[in-house]
């Protein structure tokens, strides 16, 4: 699905846990997330901290969307 959206020219931040799959399939902007059942969350954390973590990851995704890339790029820093 990522590629079909990219094909019409809209940049996509693919937020996923299994980065090698995303790389194989061909997403261009990849943002590693926490875990399969809770990519944007961590149920071990208290609610406020979890939301702060979510915000950090979303901000990373937005940064990826603002970054020119010339090929597949994993935004893991």
């Amino acid at each position: 699905m990522v590629k079909e959206i990219e094909r019409v020219g809209i940049p996509v931040a693919h937020c996923c846990t299994i980065v090698p799959i995303s790389l194989t399939v061909g997403a261009n902007r990849i943002v590693p997330t926490v875990a399969i059942p809770h990519p944007f969350g961590n149920p071990e954390l208290p609610a406020e901290e979890e939301k702060a973590l979510r915000k950090r990851l979303v901000v990373k995704a937005l940064k990826a969307l603002e970054t020119e890339v010339d090929g597949q790029t994993v935004f893991d820093k």
Binding site: A13, P37, R54, E66
Partner: protein
Amino acid sequence: MTVRIVHYINQFFGQIGGEEKADIVPKVKEGPVGPGTAIAAAFKGQGEVVATVICGDGYFNENLAAATDEVIGMIEKYNPDLVIAGPAFNAGRYGVACGTVCKEVAERLGIPVVTGMYPENPGVEMFTKYTYIIETGDSAAAMRKAIPDIVKFAKKLVNKEPIGGPEEEGYIPRGLRRNYFAKVRGSQRAVDMLVKKLYEEDFVTEYPMPSFDRVEPPKAVVDITRATVALVTSGGIVPKNNPDHIEASSASKFGKYDIEGVYDLTPENFETAHGGYDPVYANKDADRVLPVDVLRDLEKEGKIGKLHRYCYSTVGNGTSVSNAKAFAEKFAQELVKDGVQAVILTST
């Protein structure tokens, strides 16, 4: 006991004419015509082409139902043991005609059928599940090889011999899976293959991976603080009670949900339909998959232009690549029309 064969061919191989005769209606001739003679010869007295049914490729394709009925009616009268169609090589309309004839004969008359086509013939994808299609070259120049290949296979069908895989029998792979007991167990075969790979020796995969194409990365968003950002997911986040009944596995559809006025996903309003991961966390707080709450905050803070009012969701669990592609092709158009400039897509 000689095998009674009826052969189906088009106007060209039936020696009636070329494109200008593509509109001829079905007709039957006793005995073999054109390539049918080679078929008869290849059977070496064990088979006889008792009749040849000839139909224009144009007529057949433009009158599918009627032409099929007429042709099957003609074939039936000869009470054959076997029907051979074509070969059609790379001719599309001929491939559709041959495929249709084989499919209908098999279903209506219950007798063995076989045809031959070049792998790129559109008739292959349409009919490979209904009939064996022997692989041929792409033009009539390949007739000399096609006929013996077809006849060799046809004999096996008629004699009800066990049919092996595509490589050994010469037919185009049908996408059908058949279980069998291998002599060597899987773990051994896997290790053997890995060792070959490590020593850079040739090996043959047991399961070819699909090849994934690449897309040019779209230009980055110039100013995200003014951009409309949309949320998409394959994590199956749907409104409570899954009103569109998106399947937990092998989704046949995607949902488009209006999150206007929604600032937080809660167990009261959203859940996950995905059957491939532990749903507990997403059901307690679907923001963990579709981060609506955070994007609303960022919207308020002016860090993004706005969160698009529609989000798109499907279940990625076991859903075919071709379905997922089709869903996204459809809603990508809507995203463009709605002026969306960036997408955050969550996979689970």
